[in-house]
């Protein structure tokens, strides 16, 4: 069985005022289910850009991304959205919860427009939030939750559609060490059981010991780092 995700010669450039800024230059790597790939590198080096390309939020300048052996770089926006909704879960550094929606509604949002009825959506959102210890916080708005609780809602939102690929952008960047450990603890079982692969972009605060492999992004290129 091949890798879950395979990236070949992926490049991304931005054009600003006539200047070309090359963020990624022919980056290649692969990740299999059960693996946790840690991408390190200084802030602004292009880690978030790489995750954006992997999730289909952004378009690559060149190169290919194969997800479950299928090239996704040429997919339409709707197909990429479908992929994110069904197979890829994303965790952002700043949680990116919708401020006006309750914890349950934030989690349910992933299941909307997918032909899942309201009762089923509510049931699944409630279950996952309860699993993550937020049973009593279902109807709270993000602002009424602690930072740790907000991150757990974000994780619940990521896991509710049972993704096979989890992309985490600085998941422990805005939280204290204890909360960071808690987050990892919540995500790892899914990876360790082989149900999913996880790619974490972090500039150094993530516990490197947890990673299967570590790569460093520097000057647009990836290099494997020994653990």
């Amino acid at each position: 069985m091949g890798p879950l995700l395979r990236v070949e010669k992926l490049s991304k450039s931005y054009h600003t005022r006539g200047n070309e800024i090359k963020v990624l230059a022919e980056v290649s790597f692969s990740v299999s289910a059960g693996e946790l790939l840690l991408i390190t590198g200084r802030s602004g080096v292009g880690k978030s850009t790489l995750l954006g390309l992997l999730s289909g939020l952004d378009r690559a300048s060149s190169g290919s991304i194969f997800f479950q052996e299928k090239e996704i770089t040429g997919l339409s926006l709707a197909e990429l959205a479908e992929l994110r909704a069904g197979s890829i879960g994303m965790i952002f550094q700043s949680f990116n919860l919708i401020p006006g929606w309750t914890a349950r509604e934030n989690v349910e949002a992933v299941l909307m427009h997918r032909g899942i009825n309201a009762a089923e959506r509510q049931k699944r959102a409630t279950e996952i939030l309860s699993e993550l210890g937020l049973k009593d916080r279902l109807e709270n708005l993000p602002a009424e939750l602690s930072v740790g609780q907000q991150q757990r809602v974000a994780i619940a939102r990521t896991l509710v559609n049972d993704p096979v690929l989890i992309l985490a952008d600085e998941p422990t960047g805005d939280v204290d060490a204890e909360t960071a450990a808690e987050i990892v603890e919540l995500l790892l079982p899914r990876v360790n059981s082989g149900r999913a692969a996880m790619i974490v972009a972090s500039h150094g605060l993530f516990d490197a010991k947890l990673a299967s492999r570590i790569v460093c992004l520097k000057d647009g290129s990836l290099s494997e780092t020994a653990q």
Binding site: A81, F92, N96, G100, A109, M112, H113, N161
Partner: protein
């Protein structure tokens, strides 16, 4: 689809102030448009009724030009104060009653009646008043153009066998404090008043109405020569408002034969309608356009405020179409709520205004046509909601999640 509307409703409830503002905008615009359109329809109906009534009837006569034919006026003994005339103060010729058959033969004419309208001066220092000759033979034309039993406000109308009795117009009766049973002096005779009439906006009117033979007898005493089967006015009812202009032209042409002066007829009132309605329609169009712009601006602002949220939704898998429909649904709900409340307010306003005007239209208008009109306006408001949501929804759908999330 239900999910989309549920989510849209939830969004509107969350942004209470903005939603209230947007709904209020629709409410005010819709209330204004509903009230104005209903008033417009109401006014048109009333006007059409009035025009059908007034414009389908006219007086045919020939103005008298003294220098052209001094003998044709009927030679009153006191030509300075008395004479045959029509309102307001046009001296008229006497015309042979034989024209009656020719006028009646015109296809566009439904009924015609001869009429004598003579201005009397009562006594040396007396007042001037008009006497109209009522000929019951031509009731069809007379009752719609001059006076009818329905116009009696007190006393009774002329009955078969009546003679030497008069009806008095209400304004004239009030001026001289005349009541049923009073007597009026016409010439050298006393005539008891049997009824007071109020004929409002009839085509022709007189201060005092007499039966034709009595009027001829009274007028003959004031003329140098007696009337010879003549009338100075023909009361004509055309076959409907549309036929009136043709009927008038044909009657005018008929009266021109053998006579020097043209007939002066009141042109149909309908020709003068339209300016105020056109203005109102323009105002309504401006309000409708402003409503679209207001709603669009409101939705645009909402989308701008929610760029972050929209980017998150797209990042977690919402498709462009889902985002687009969500914004359209919100716009539609605002339009639906605002237009429903506005339509209700507009209808209540219309009822209040139309009732306070003391005017009434048919019950069918209130229960069928007005609600149908409101329904059409509401559908137009919903279309406005969709139109107003198109640009913001398209902008929302095009939001680049990577770009927005990167800039946060």
């Amino acid at each position: 689809m239900r999910d989309i509307f549920t989510a849209a409703w939830r969004e509107l409830c969350r942004r209470k102030l903005r939603s209230f503002g947007a709904v209020s905008g629709y409410l005010l615009a819709c209330a204004f448009i509903v009230a104005m359109v209903l008033m417009l329809q109401f006014d048109l109906q009333s006007k059409h009724a009035t025009v059908s009534y007034m414009g389908a009837r006219f007086l045919a006569y020939q103005p008298f030009v003294r220098t052209a034919d001094p003998d044709a006026v009927g030679r009153p003994l006191d030509p300075v104060n008395e004479g045959f005339f029509t309102e307001p103060t046009v001296t008229t010729r006497l015309l042979p009653r034989s024209l009656l058959e020719q006028i009646a033969a015109i296809p566009e004419v439904r009924a015609v009646a001869p009429f004598l309208l003579y201005r009397f001066k009562q006594g040396e220092n007396g007042h001037i008043f008009s006497v109209g000759a009522y000929d019951p033979t031509y009731q069809n034309a007379v009752r719609s153009t001059l006076v009818s039993p329905k116009d009696v406000v007190s006393g009774a109308f002329f009955r078969d066998g009546d003679s030497n009795v008069v009806l008095v117009d209400q304004s004239y009766a009030e001026l001289w404090e005349l009541k049923v049973g009073s007597v009026v002096i016409i010439g050298d005779m006393l005539y008891p008043v049997i009824g007071i009439t109020s004929s409002h906006a009839r085509t022709a009117r007189a201060d005092v109405y007499m039966l034709w033979p009595d009027a001829v007898a009274a007028i003959n005493k004031r003329l140098g020569r007696p009337l010879v089967d003549e009338a100075n006015i023909f009361l004509v009812e055309s076959a409907g408002i549309e036929a009136a202009p043709v009927a008038m032209k044909k009657v005018e042409a008929l009266l021109q034969q053998g006579h020097a002066n043209p007939v002066v007829c009141m042109p149909p009132v309908v020709k003068f309608m339209g300016l105020s309605h056109d203005t109102l329609r323009l105002v309504l169009a401006i309000v409708a356009i402003l409503t679209i712009l207001f709603a669009m601006n409101s939705q645009w602002s909402t989308v701008s405020e929610r760029r972050h949220e929209i980017a998150i939704l797209k990042a977690i898998g919402w498709k462009d179409a889902g985002i687009f429909l969500q914004i359209i649904a919100e716009s539609l709900l605002v339009a639906l709520l605002g237009s429903a409340l506005g339509a209700l307010a507009g209808y209540v306003g219309f009822l209040a205004i139309s009732t306070s005007m003391g005017a009434r239209v048919s019950l069918a208008y209130y229960v069928i046509r007005a609600p149908l009109t409101i329904l059409v306006i509401m559908l137009a408001a919903l279309l406005t909601g969709i139109l107003a949501g198109l640009l913001p929804a398209s902008r929302a759908a095009r939001t680049s999640p990577a770009e927005v999330l990167r800039t946060l």
